[in-house]
């Protein structure tokens, strides 16, 4: 077979570069999306296998609390603030597959065993921040509510529009997963999820629902706000 080298170089070179230009900043071919979802499911298997309740997040020596430098995200148009006059007293409902559904006021939460941790915040965007959270261990709430063994998932719901994220129960039961009402030694402010939010260093930021209203134990996962948009559902660290 005779191949004109110059032609070969020009044709192959321009084919590669035009394919690259066409691909730039696009989301890639539609047909690939199924493969990407397949890879996400396989990655979830790996991430679940790596999760240990004995693996703890620890902040490095010499790091400082982010304090005011911690960005605040919400999906509503304005900072969500619980309006007592309109909605009555804020409560946290613990329901679903539990033997004793709970309805806890902020006072009730504060009376439960208090847990404080200084940990990293891993944002999906790539930044990290050091924060100090105070609240109740999720595992304590699960024990009080009598979570049933068949509840393999838990959904964290909010009053920030329809924001929610469901988790695997193993991540939720991690000793560093906390329903927090305090940040950096003060009561949680509206910017960071007041009156209470879930926080755990074993999940990326978007999995940690702020402005918490309901914790629902479930037999299957029900996605989440950002998970449904295309971010990994598992979102572990």
């Amino acid at each position: 077979m005779t191949i004109d080298r110059r032609k070969f170089i020009i044709v192959s070179g321009s084919a590669v570069s035009s394919a690259l230009i066409a691909a730039c900043d696009s989301r890639g071919p539609k047909g690939a999306q199924r493969l990407l979802r397949y890879a996400e499911r396989k990655n979830e298997v790996v991430e679940r296998a790596l999760l240990r309740h004995t693996h703890m997040d620890a902040t490095l020596a010499g790091t400082h609390l982010a304090g005011n430098a911690l960005p605040s995200y919400y999906v509503s148009k304005h900072v969500p603030v619980w309006n007592e006059a309109q909605r009555g007293k804020w409560t946290l409902e613990v329901s679903g597959m539990v033997d004793h559904p709970l309805k806890l006021t902020l006072d009730d939460l504060q009376k439960l065993p208090r847990f404080t941790e200084r940990v990293n915040h891993y944002c999906v965007e790539g930044w990290t921040a050091v924060e100090q959270w105070t609240g109740v261990n999720f595992s304590e709430l699960a024990r009080l509510a009598g979570a049933q063994p068949a509840a393999h998932y838990v959904d964290f719901q909010s009053f920030d529009d329809k924001y929610h994220e469901s988790w695997d129960i193993e991540s939720a039961m991690h000793p560093q997963t906390v329903v927090a009402y305090g940040l950096d030694g003060q009561m949680l402010g509206p910017a960071h999820g007041a009156p209470a939010r879930v926080y755990s260093p074993v999940k990326l930021g978007y999995k940690n629902t702020k402005y918490l209203t309901k914790i629902v134990f479930m037999p299957v996962a029900n996605g989440g706000y950002w998970s449904d948009e295309g971010y990994e559902w598992y979102g572990g660290t």
Partner: protein
């Protein structure tokens, strides 16, 4: 043939799979980086990156948006790693590692190539399958690749594999090593592509459909970037490089009818 520039099919396939996977990894990685184009922990500063908070131009990114880029990145990483392991396993078992691991004479050989490219030396040094600069590049690239993979795992699982992340100096530094490894891989790849097109475009054949005309080697043409790109072999060089070919008169007949001799 010893020193032949032909490549085993496994090397050719893994080369192109790597080229595609790497392009997608770099593009999607830059899109992920653009979500927070800085290294500093929130509320702190970072010493060692002069372009903190300056985004990478969109044309160099792939994936469309953060989630899209992440999905590509976390899928393509398996292709890159598995393909890389096949390549490294193959060259280890099949002996090709001898062509890329630098020899004792590396500093001298590398200087000879540098001085040739800088027009200090007149004749292209004869150094086997790859010249010393190629050897160094093809040796360092897999090492940078391994660094990129290790630092990538460290920022993927900073809690579950905290020992690894801490080994690299923590999340912020692991992310920095990941970025730096990428920059070096891209720089070396750019030089590689530039040299292929300006010095030895004939290597495109040996890296795709296979086959390499030794009479067109950079040594035989005495080629530098843009110099002697389409030159006929220098009979003196061929006599030195391939005495057998020179004796058969292959060089002379090539001069008469270049079109028939491909």
């Amino acid at each position: 043939m010893k020193g032949s520039r032909n490549h085993h099919p496994i090397v050719r396939i893994t080369h192109w799979v790597n080229a595609i996977a790497l392009t997608i990894m770099v593009g999607s990685g830059l899109r992920i980086f653009n979500a927070y184009p800085a290294f500093a922990r929130r509320g702190e500063t970072f010493c060692c990156y002069p372009f903190e908070h300056k985004a990478i131009p969109r044309v160099f990114t792939f994936g469309g948006w953060l989630a899209g880029a992440r999905n590509w990145h976390f899928a393509m990483m398996w292709v890159l790693v598995i393909n890389g392991l096949i390549y490294l396993g193959f060259i280890y078992l099949h002996g090709e590692w001898r062509d890329v691991v630098p020899r004792k004479s590396f500093p001298r050989d590398a200087w000879a190539m540098m001085s040739y490219y800088l027009f200090i030396r007149k004749r292209h040094p004869v150094q086997g399958k790859y010249n010393a600069l190629q050897r160094g590049t093809y040796f360092i690239l897999p090492i940078l690749g391994i660094l990129a993979v290790i630092s990538g795992i460290a920022i993927w699982k900073p809690v579950e594999l905290a020992w690894l992340t801490n080994l690299l100096g923590g999340y912020v530094w692991a992310r920095y090593w990941h970025f730096l490894a990428m920059v070096l891989i891209v720089a070396l790849s750019m030089i590689h592509i530039f040299m292929v097109f300006t010095v030895d475009p004939y290597a495109l054949k040996s890296m795709t459909i296979g086959g390499y005309d030794e009479l067109k080697s950079p040594e035989a043409r005495n080629a530098r970037p843009f110099y002697h790109l389409f030159a006929r072999p220098d009979p003196k060089m061929v006599a030195e490089l391939h005495p057998a070919l020179a004796d058969t008169g292959a060089v002379r007949s090539q001069k008469k009818k270049p079109a028939d001799n491909q």
